[in-house]
């Protein structure tokens, strides 16, 4: 039994680690095509070669990351059925359609990358090349949508006779289209898409801000300044959208996953007039040392100060998620509001013609925001997934029931770990070398 627990632990670790790395590539993969297309469009519309150079250089980044990301995505797909065969056997019979459609979205993206990159000189219309890039952005977005639908199925399973399955593990009453409209699908899809654009674009906004801070050359300054302004505009829209959808998706947990909601909010007992608890430590069965904001939790979750919110004590102890997700939620809220507030300040300064983007400290803070945006997305993902524990499919299948108990998993944990440790820095080194051989100065001069 001890060895089995160890193997399940390794299964979890391997899946978690693979997804942790893959998420970075995925959010970049979703947001970058949009940035590239907008840059190319602006370049043509205003006959501005800085934007043209920007779109071309970002496309090189995109292709390198797409190659690594698609391989990493395949690894995640393989992990799913090798590490969680019982889970995938159920998914295969009930909820495979989104996964399957995702393949076609990926296909669309791959083929149109080929068209966009290798047929640049084949288009006659002014905007034809930009139009040829749109399926890349659609394919990337659709991939995110479809995979999120599977995740929504894991959170709120539908599409088969659950009581019968729980009784004798037989899958009956299958309705394969139900997976597209589970109770959590809509909210999850919107939130994941919006946060992917937020984090993916902020990484590049942060990079451009940092490079602007470091630049002495006027041409480079102009280039990075334009790139920053353009990408930051995208990031700002999706930052505010992320805050709104994040808040709504936490509230939706009230009905769809009350244990997760209770753990996130640090509610041990159900109550009305519930305060929003900031920080705190679990002592015995009570959360202590937190800062309360009276009634706010009830108001946000139910729309009324007297609204009742769930508590973990209403559920068996062995179905409680780990309570550290409450701290993760605090981190999320803090970072979300910090970044949002900072962007509001920049907008305000912009309105009164203070030129915030020209300020070195603002540039450095924006670079920091690029990193924090990634921290935000990873934290949100950990909170959402750990919050569903001990279930892999909520109230249907526990993680321990889904796992592969073959001892062969163990050496591969190490291999995958080493591989990711090698491939990610190596990709960055290669990108640096590629751009070392194609200096920006030369591209701006030869534009």
């Amino acid at each position: 039994m001890g060895a089995e627990l160890l193997i399940v632990g390794f299964d979890r670790f391997l899946m978690g680690f693979s997804l942790f790395v893959h998420i970075i590539l995925a959010v970049i993969g979703v947001a970058l095509p949009l940035i590239i297309l907008i840059a190319e469009y602006l370049g043509i519309k205003y006959n501005d070669k800085d934007y043209a150079v920007l779109s071309r250089r970002l496309m090189v980044v995109f292709i390198v990351l797409f190659a690594v990301g698609s391989a990493s995505g395949i690894l995640v797909a393989i992990n799913l059925f090798l590490l969680w065969p019982t889970f995938m056997a159920l998914v295969g019979q009930v909820a495979i359609l989104p996964v399957y459609i995702e393949v076609f979205a990926f296909f669309l993206e791959s083929i149109f990358i080929g068209i966009y990159v290798y047929s640049r000189n084949k288009f006659a219309g002014k905007y034809s090349h930009v139009l040829a890039g749109i399926p890349i952005a659609i394919g990337a977005g659709m991939s995110a949508v479809m995979i999120t639908m599977l995740n929504a199925f894991m959170n709120t399973p539908v599409g088969f006779d659950i009581p019968t399955y729980l009784h004798n593990a037989t899958i009956t009453g299958v309705s394969p289209l139900a997976v597209f409209a589970s109770p959590s699908t809509g909210m999850e899809v919107v939130h994941v898409l919006v946060t992917s654009y937020f984090a993916g674009s902020f990484i590049f906004a942060g990079y451009m801000a940092y490079m602007l801070f470091r630049s002495n050359d006027e041409d480079k300054k102009r280039y990075y300044r334009k790139a920053l302004a353009m990408i930051l505009a995208i990031s700002t829209i999706f930052t505010f959208a992320s805050v709104i959808t994040g808040s709504l998706s936490i509230s939706s947990l009230l009905t769809t996953q009350p244990e997760k909601f209770a753990a996130i909010e640090g509610n041990i007992y159900p109550q009305a007039f519930a305060p929003e608890r900031i920080g705190g430590m679990l002592v015995g069965n009570t959360l202590q040392y937190y800062i309360p904001i009276p009634n706010l939790q009830s108001i946000l979750a139910t729309g009324s100060a007297s609204g009742m919110v769930p508590g973990l004590a209403s559920y068996p102890r062995d179905t409680w998620p780990p309570l550290f997700i409450h701290d993760l939620f605090d981190i999320l809220v803090f970072l979300g509001f910090a970044i949002g507030g900072f962007l509001l300040l920049i907008m305000l300064l912009n309105l009164i013609k203070k030129d915030p983007l020209g300020n070195g400290k603002v540039q450095l803070l924006l670079a920091l925001c690029g990193v924090l945006a990634l921290v935000l997305v990873e934290t949100g993902w950990v909170m959402a997934e750990v919050g569903r524990q001990p279930w892999i499919i909520y109230n249907v299948m526990r993680v321990s029931q889904a796992a592969n108990y073959s001892a062969s998993v163990l050496p591969f944990t190490l291999a995958i770990l080493l591989f990711y440790i090698f491939i990610m820095p190596f990709t960055v080194i290669v990108l640096k070398r590629i751009f070392g051989e194609r200096p920006l100065e030369a591209e701006l001069v030869n534009k």
């Binding site: 797909a77 995702e102 299958v174 394969p176 998993v409």
Partner: protein
């Protein structure tokens, strides 16, 4: 024959053709890179992504078609599939690195790493596929696999050698590499004989089924000889005929194999439920049309359309 099986096998056959084509490019890159690098890279660059994506297409279609098998496959093939995908990632990464790196010696090195990784992937994938035919190295009822007996058994080695010979012919004819022409003329008939002999010696039940459908290997042999004859005359159609022969032969193999996989396991007992089957196939058809249209557009732009004056 079950339509779910037919569709899944058709997708598999396209995937295998692409894999062997790319393995052929990898072989030529390792053997004749300096002399023919532009020709070889010229093929790879627009197409390599399609190869990768077809691998995923097949994998997910397999998951949708045989979900009940997944519980067993996780235990049986965990080692070769994990290894294959590690090398697959290396293959992707180094191909793209080689594309954008400027220094020639680095580009050559990365290309060779790409070629080596691709061949390792092909070896591991073929080991899994051949054990899916013969059942060597796996126990389906227990869901366990023995990596050594899976990789090192006479049937698997025969199938791998056969695959290498086919890949060699395809690449030699496709890229018109004079140094490889004579060997390629021998390669294809040798591959054909090796495959038939391996079935006879190691999977006798399938060999018996094949005798019951004797017209299939006869058609395959005729197509193979035609491809060799075209290659002997340096005809540009040799490569096309070789690819057609491979595609047709893989599907003939699937007809002979049905319904017994892993030696003696009836694959139809693992098919998905009726409710999921219809939407799955509708998605396959709709997605297949989307892919076909997109690839046609890619080919049209790459090879047919003249340069335009749009954009910047």
């Amino acid at each position: 024959m079950n339509p779910l099986y037919i569709i899944n096998y058709l997708i598999f056959s396209v995937f295998l053709v692409l894999l062997l084509l790319e393995a052929g490019v990898a072989i030529m890159m390792l053997l004749y890179y300096k002399e023919y690098k532009d020709r070889l890279r010229g093929y790879l660059m627009p197409i390599w992504e399609v190869d990768s994506t077809f691998a995923v297409f097949y994998l997910v279609n397999f998951e949708a078609t045989y979900p009940k098998l997944l519980t067993f496959l996780g235990g049986m093939y965990i080692i070769p599939l994990f290894l294959a995908f590690l090398f697959f990632m290396l293959r992707n990464a180094f191909l793209v690195y080689s594309e954008y790196i400027g220094k020639e010696h680095k580009r050559d090195l990365y290309t060779k790493i790409y070629g080596g990784s691709t061949l390792v992937v092909a070896f591991l994938v073929i080991a899994v596929l051949s054990s899916g035919v013969s059942g060597f190295g796996v126990n389906v009822s227990e869901g366990t696999g023995q990596i050594v007996s899976m990789l090192i058994n006479p049937f698997d080695i025969s199938v791998f050698l056969c695959s290498i010979l086919i890949s060699f012919f395809l690449a030699a004819s496709y890229f018109k590499i004079p140094e490889a022409k004579t060997d390629s003329l021998v390669a294809l008939p040798l591959a054909f004989i090796l495959m038939i002999s391996a079935l006879f010696a190691f999977v006798p039940a399938m060999f018996s089924s094949m005798l019951g459908l004797i017209y299939l290997p006869i058609i395959s042999a005729a197509l193979m000889l035609a491809a060799v004859a075209f290659q002997a005359r340096n005809s540009p159609y040799a490569a096309h005929l070789g690819i057609l022969w491979l595609f047709v032969s893989i599907n003939f193999f699937g007809i002979v194999e049905y319904p017994n996989f892993f030696g003696d396991v009836n694959i139809t007992t693992y098919l998905t439920n009726a409710a999921a089957a219809v939407p799955t196939e509708l998605v396959t058809v709709a997605g297949g049309i989307l892919i076909a249209v997109s690839i046609t557009y890619l080919v049209y732009l790459s090879y047919v359309k003249r340069e335009g004056r749009g954009g910047y």
